[in-house]
């Protein structure tokens, strides 16, 4: 079976953020899947991936939590691919996969906890975890998108922002940096490729994998606001109208601190923040509401109308 065929039907792991602040990402991911004829089967009774909180306290508990999601997909749903659009979830499932293959202690803890919880222990290699970017890139690809575009993103200048967890640490993403066509950990380009195929003009954005301050949001909001403000201003300086995102934490942080920067620092940066799935959905002819533009914190409707997308 080719990768293209394999990814046409995948286990969908939305994760906690996509049920809350990142709901627009959930809505738009499902909407473009439907539009493109791709099938998402939500992981039954999924749990938190362990995110940052659990990982900081006990990394092996995070490995177990992530492994349970993969175990349900593999052993209870008979799926061999899990697609996680959230960078945190994607990163944690990949990390769990790596740990289970390379760390006997982690495998022991996971086995013990799985037995205690009453489900089959996940064995390394049972599923392949992919990101929403891999999903679209490998099933539809740039040529497939070009054929399906109804409303070109032409005239929209985009800074693609990948955040810090999509490519780091490199060793948990063995498929990246693996030759022509693969994703790059130092200069990721999958989102650039897809949006360009939909007609957008990508700008050269030097902070595409820089920290957005997500981890500082509670402990030091001022630092997060300054980091986000710097990202917004850099994207603007690069000539962008829009920052495209592929992580709910980054997206929410950019939106919230854009407002906070204006309120606390008096600095307003007029740049729109949209999920790449929202942009692709509108390029495919979906209405803004179908891709959850009304669920974003920032208002981009006037801009989208000007560009003929709404």
């Amino acid at each position: 079976m080719t990768t293209k065929d394999k990814y046409k039907k995948v286990a969908y792991y939305p994760g906690c953020a996509l049920e809350g602040t990142g709901h627009a990402y959930n809505r738009s991911t499902k909407a473009i899947g439907k539009e493109l004829g791709l099938e998402l089967v939500e992981v039954e009774n999924w749990n938190c991936c362990g995110a940052m909180e659990v990982k900081n306290i006990d990394p092996k508990i995070q490995t177990y939590l992530s492994s349970r999601v993969m175990s349900v997909a593999a052993n209870e749903m008979d799926m061999d691919v899990v697609m996680a659009p959230c960078n945190g979830c994607y990163h944690n499932l990949k990390k769990a996969e790596y740990d289970l293959a390379n760390d006997a202690d982690s495998a022991q803890v996971v086995d013990r906890l799985s037995k205690k919880a009453g489900h089959k222990t996940y064995e390394s290699g049972q599923v392949e975890t992919i990101h929403a970017l891999d999903w679209i890139k490998d099933t539809i690809g740039e040529d497939g998108l070009r054929e399906r575009v109804k409303n070109s993103l032409s005239g929209i200048k985009i800074a693609n922002y990948y955040g810090c967890m999509y490519t780091r640490p490199r060793h948990i993403f063995p498929e990246k940096d693996s030759g022509p066509g693969s994703e790059s950990t130092s200069k990721p380009h999958f989102m650039d490729d897809l949006l360009e195929a939909a007609g957008a003009e990508n700008v050269d954005f030097p902070l595409k994998t820089a920290c957005c301050g997500g981890a500082h949001t509670l402990s030091d909001s001022d630092t997060s606001t300054k980091l986000v403000l710097n990202i917004l201003k850099t994207a603007k300086l690069a000539g962008a109208d829009v920052i495209a995102t592929e992580c709910p934490t980054c997206h929410t942080g950019l939106e919230m601190h854009q407002i906070r920067a204006e309120k606390t620092l008096g600095e307003k940066v007029d740049i729109k923040i949209l999920y790449f799935t929202q942009l692709l959905g509108m390029a495919l002819g979906l209405k803004p509401k179908k891709v959850g533009v009304h669920e974003n914190i920032s208002d981009s409707m006037r801009f989208l109308k000007e560009k003929g997308l709404a």
């Binding site: 200069k187 920290c211 030091d220 850099t234």
Partner: protein, 147 residues
């Protein structure tokens, strides 16, 4: 080594220098000093080595030893090196002023990332009350916990 507050001020005024090569040199030096703070706080002596022609990249590599999370600024450092090269190797390019402005923005991100990370590392998560202490002492805080 200048304090973080001094580095912030220096960065702010760096692009005011009409000599753009000198301005780029100054921004690169500021970026190196930001990393020096991190390395000194970890109890090490900042290296004078270079990697790919840049001390900045050698300092970054030194800063990640024992703390892989510091890799989150690896590409930021590489972008600083790249933009420094653009400004200094193509001084007559029509975009040099914009490139210098971009170099400053990237260096500012490094400054914000490292200074924010040091605050968390030194005084613990969820401790907003630590801010006045950091602002008062700025440097020489013991590193007690990973960010």
């Amino acid at each position: 080594m200048r304090t973080f507050a001094e580095l912030e001020l220096a960065l702010e005024s760096a692009t005011g220098n009409p000599d753009q090569h000198a301005a780029a040199d100054e921004i690169l030096r500021i970026s190196e000093e930001v990393l020096e703070h991190w390395i000194v706080a970890k109890g090490a002596v900042p290296t004078d080595d270079t990697r790919e022609g840049f001390r900045l990249l050698a300092l970054h590599r030194q800063g990640t030893k024992g703390d892989p999370s510091f890799n989150a600024c690896r590409e930021t450092c590489r972008e600083i090196a790249y933009h420094f090269n653009l400004v200094t190797l193509q001084p007559n390019d029509a975009e040099t002023t914009d490139r210098l402005a971009m170099l400053k923005m990237i260096s500012n991100h490094l400054y914000l990332f490292v200074s924010g990370k040091m605050q968390v590392a030194a005084l613990g998560d969820f401790c907003c009350s630590s801010k006045p202490i950091r602002q008062a002492t700025d440097v020489d805080l013991p590193m007690t916990k990973e960010a």
